[in-house]
Symmetry: C2
Subunit: 200 residues, 2 copies
């Protein structure tokens, strides 16, 4: 007997497949993420993947785009919600990195899977370069709002990103060693150092 099904809107199905891919990458890693694994998770037959995407590689790339957009949007939303004070906006950006939905074990797993692909798959590398450049541009703008010249904002953005990424990684890999509040406090301290005396 042929399985019954309902026809869905194209966007709905694409979204479901993208989310199933993210979940699969988080739960089973790159190795365990196959066409059949994704489609089972999405409640759909394997053949449907090729109806909406050029292949599994294209779907994974699309999922990466989706995840980076979500993170960047979360940070932008936090900054916007912080009002007009430049320092408050910068702190909001940093703090949001250590709170859901950005700091989330499943997201970290997915993210690590993508990082491992950056060095291997050129398409993923291109998406990574774009997303990374955009996020650094945003951060440099926030630092400029706080009175840093362009010459100082560039290295400061690198330094701040590095600490935030490192803390995010540690926090999400093992949430028992310290808390989001401690992470925020550390980042703010680093921020004050970078905004202060221009030693670098």
């Amino acid at each position: 007997m042929r399985a019954s099904f309902t026809r869905e809107d194209a966007d709905t199905r694409r979204q479901a497949l993208i989310e199933a891919t993210a979940e699969s990458l988080a739960a089973a890693g790159v190795a365990g993420t196959s066409v059949r694994a994704i489609c089972t998770r999405a409640g759909v037959s394997p053949g449907l993947l090729r109806h909406y995407f050029e292949g599994i590689d294209a779907l994974i790339a699309e999922t990466y785009r989706h995840v980076t957009a979500m993170v960047s949007q979360s940070l932008a939303l936090a900054v916007d919600g912080a009002g007009r004070d430049p320092r408050a906006r910068l702190i909001a950006h940093v703090t949001a990195s250590f709170r859901p939905p950005v700091s989330d074990p499943a997201l970290l797993s997915t993210w690590l899977a993508f990082w491992s692909l950056v060095k291997t798959d050129p398409a993923i590398a291109a998406i990574h370069a774009d997303s990374y450049a955009a996020s650094r541009r945003d951060l440099e703008a926030l630092l400029a709002e706080n009175g840093l010249s362009a010459a100082r904002a560039i290295p400061a953005a690198i330094a701040l990103t590095a600490l935030v990424d490192g803390l995010w990684l540690e926090l999400t890999l093992d949430a028992t060693t310290f808390t989001p509040e401690e992470a925020s406090a550390m980042a703010v301290r680093w921020l004050d150092t970078l905004l202060g005396d221009p030693k670098i």
Copy 2:
């Protein structure tokens, strides 16, 4: 015709297989690292892998152990070579993270592959936990040498590790945005902040 071969010492062959695995992970990622890929790279027939290891998963785990030991040894060597001055030893530890053989594109690729496995493979997770605990213990000892109490050394180790990891990641992912010297300078500045006024 059967291919000619030479019998090698067990340690030599194991080492060759481990290094081939690391190279394959760096070049082709987790997905491209198969029994045949590893053995071809090691100049050996596929069957030999099972003669020296329980399977490909065990070989990958062994490779992870090998790589983490190499990094930890490199850092320890740098610290030892810095003499007795506590501050110089701490700076040596940090600086070595941004220089070969620790900062090396191939090593980063391998490392990212392992990180993606930490969330998936329990055996890899166990090795990661061990290695991570050991490295933090070392760093806390160096911080204690520099006059930090245990209560302050623990968060300081987390904060310093986070920045060093983040800078190491950025530097090795894309070596054009800043230099190892700049990375070291940033880390030393953070170090001075952490060793100074106990705001955290």
